[in-house]
Amino acid sequence: MPAGFQHFADTYLMWNEGPLIWMSDALIVLTSLGIVGALTYFKRWKWLWREWLTTVDHKKIGIMYLIAALLMLFRGGVDAELMRTQLALPGVHFLDAEHYDQIFTTHGTIMILFMAMPFIFALFNIVVPLQIGARDVAFPYLNAISFWLFFFGAMLFNISFVFGGSPDAGWTSYPPLTELGFDKGPGENFYLLGLQISGIGSIATGINFLATILKMRAPGMTLMRMPLFTWSVLAACVVIIFAFPALTIALALLMLDRIVGTHFFTMLHGGNPMMFINLFWIWGHPEVYIVILPAFGVFSEVVATFARKRIFGYSSMVAALMAISIISYFVWAHHFFTMGAGADVNTFFAVATMAVGIPTGVKVFNWLFTLFRGRIRMQLPMLWTLAFVPCFAIGGATGVMLAVAPADYQYHNSYFLIAHFHQVLIGGVVFGMLAGMYYWWPKMFGFKLDERLGRWAFWFFNIGFYVCFMPQYALGFMGMQRRMYTYPADTGWGTLNFVSTIGAYLMGIGFLFIVLQVLYSIKYGERDLTGDPWDGRTLEWSLPSPVPHYNFAVIPTVTDRDMWWVLKQEGRTEELRPKPEEIQPIHMPKNSGRPFLMGFAFFVAGLGFVFNWHVLAALGLLGVVACMIARSFEYDDEYQIPVEEIEYTEAALGRL
């Protein structure tokens, strides 16, 4: 092998690291060839470009977010299984310390930013315009940009695994460990750039959906008639808008430290590492509310639908959502009580943290009261919702334990903390997103996911969850700290770790059942011919499944909360069917390839910054600017759907 190639392969492709990386390289090359081959063989390139890569349709963007989220759930899940395998027995050297560091870093980052975020954005996109009676979001073009920034940010982060090396300083990426002096590799740069690019997309999504909810509601849909999922999106968007800029700055300043040589967070020349930690958590704590609030919204929809009752305490639900979104800004320092900020600061943040429990408790009780004397149907969305309640209650209770600042000196960074946040993030967000996925799946694709396989998945995942995480609370009390890659046998942690690993495998089997369920249901799933498979309550269920791309042939007028349910009760569903004389031509935004190209340009620029290839970075940024200028001069970005086409589509759906 020529020396030049050898050098390249060792530096960038990490071939000197051995068979694990060679296998990954081979798998990635094979998968890519497979995808390219399949697209070519089935002549689907044009279809991919026209229907997906250039789309500005909120429903398709939502589906792309969903696919990305499930793929990332797989990648993050594999990371988790590797970690649990490493920890199953004392003194194991299945992974070495360095690889273990990389894997817990990518696991955390991917699960929060590239799994939970796209999962909630998937539901934002698919559901919100339909629930408020709109034809798209306020800024469809920007919506596409958001998706592609997320996509290419996630690509940049994931590519580090086989090109240059993964980040290895934890998903929180604390300096001074992440400063150049201690962490030379490009991995940390991948983290900073990947998160920065997808973070810009998240800010844009927050702006987009807040404007959509404030301005695009159908006539008659006052704020207090909005479905609770839409309310939860509104609350989450407010938090996104106020929290994400802090992440942008934290990442940007750390990047300056690493690339330009500034001294924000260094140990020398006056830098202050705690400043990063503050900025990070000023975003980081609201971030967990960003992902949990939409899950709360899902539960509110599911509970009302499957108990066939109006949600109990609607106004208090809205108030609780808004209260949580505000209190979420005043709790960040509870992530580092041990910093030594003093009793007064810690007291403030401890009390604020406990206060979050109050509106959350209000919501839990309201769900329970809605179920009370309801005619409950135990279908998949409801199962996950019911599983959520006890899980989140335990997670919340351990959260309050952690919030007690003096006691936190004992729990801090132990496995007790790990068990706590997995319990609220899995029990809250993952359960919620799965419930939402099952609930709106027929609306997206026109068929239900198979109930039987879904129940297997549910039980494996749930039992696995408790088997995995309950022992970790005990391990925390026994002194096991997070991020340790192995432990000696005489600590006595072996048994509980082994049990925990079994639980993780059970959860993995649960995930495989979900994959199986999706594949099976594509062919055999129950088709949704009515558009209203769950006997729903809100406007999206008045439309056929899947929804025509203009959503509503005629924009409905809303007179009630749970509008569709009321119309069904009163036998007035015909009112939401389009009448020929009411159909008018519809203006829709044109597809555009520019958001995709802009995301790609960001990717190129990001790669340039990761490796300090300044020419590449400059080229990428030029591409971004060129896309923006081209957009500025674009005036003809809408087209009109003629009345005949709408009539034809609606008639084919049996609605005219």
Partner: protein, 218 residues
């Protein structure tokens, strides 16, 4: 105009908004709901941008005294220089306002003239700031010297690059006004770029007081 009433993303109230003529008292950029929703979106963007600056200000305030034996704010800041920058930028905000005023009066020629004046003032602001930075670096006060200087250059530099982006953006808007005249779309664009400009002016007022004034006084 049924077309607009049924447009894809016509915000609520579109129908009644569109029927209104120029006499309904609302400025041109707000008349079409397609355009006015973009103005709301831009306000929301400004909220995020404001928080961006808030974080930079917080960082600056934490690191202000961390000079590591290097130059301090008092030694570094050039009073005539930042006073001139302040006057120029505040004036440009005023001329930007005049541009909006001319746009509302339908006066294309003066709209373009005031936009050009605003851009020129912006350019001289950026030029002065670049000169100030170059002089600091020549004295050995660069970003790498101390945490204070890292924070100073990043905060003020972020504002400066925002102004530079604003100049390019204003130029693109000017071209579109020249080509298309004052329409609902170009009016919205002029309005938004001016919102951005005024916002940068407000940020500068804080930089002036928090960074420069308190730097030379304290």
């Amino acid at each position: 105009m049924a077309v607009a009433e049924h447009a894809a993303h016509a915000p609520a109230g579109a129908a009644h908004a569109h029927g209104a003529g120029p006499a309904d008292g609302r400025p041109l950029e707000y008349r079409d709901p397609h355009q006015s929703v973009k103005i709301l979106g831009f306000w929301l963007f400004l909220a995020t941008d404001m928080l961006l600056f808030a974080c930079l200000f917080a960082t600056y305030l934490v690191l202000r005294t961390h000079t590591d034996g290097g130059p301090t704010a008092r030694e570094l800041f050039d009073i005539p220089g930042f006073t001139a920058e302040t006057f120029i930028l505040l004036t440009s905000s005023f001329t930007g306002g005049l541009a909006t005023l001319c746009m509302r009066n339908g006066n294309k020629k003066w709209l373009m003239a005031w936009l050009a004046v605003t851009m020129l003032l912006g350019l001289s602001f950026v030029g002065l700031e670049a000169k100030e930075f170059a002089a600091d670096v020549a004295e050995g006060a660069n970003m790498q010297r101390s945490a204070f200087l890292s924070a100073f250059f990043t905060l003020v530099g972020t504002h400066g690059s925002h102004v530079s982006v604003g100049i390019v953006w204003m130029f693109l808007t000017l071209l579109q006004v020249a080509r298309r005249g004052i329409t609902e779309i170009t009016a919205r664009k002029v309005f938004i770029v001016n919102l951005y400009w005024h916002f940068l002016d407000v940020v500068w007022v804080f930089i002036f007081t928090v960074v420069y004034l308190s730097g030379v006084v304290m």
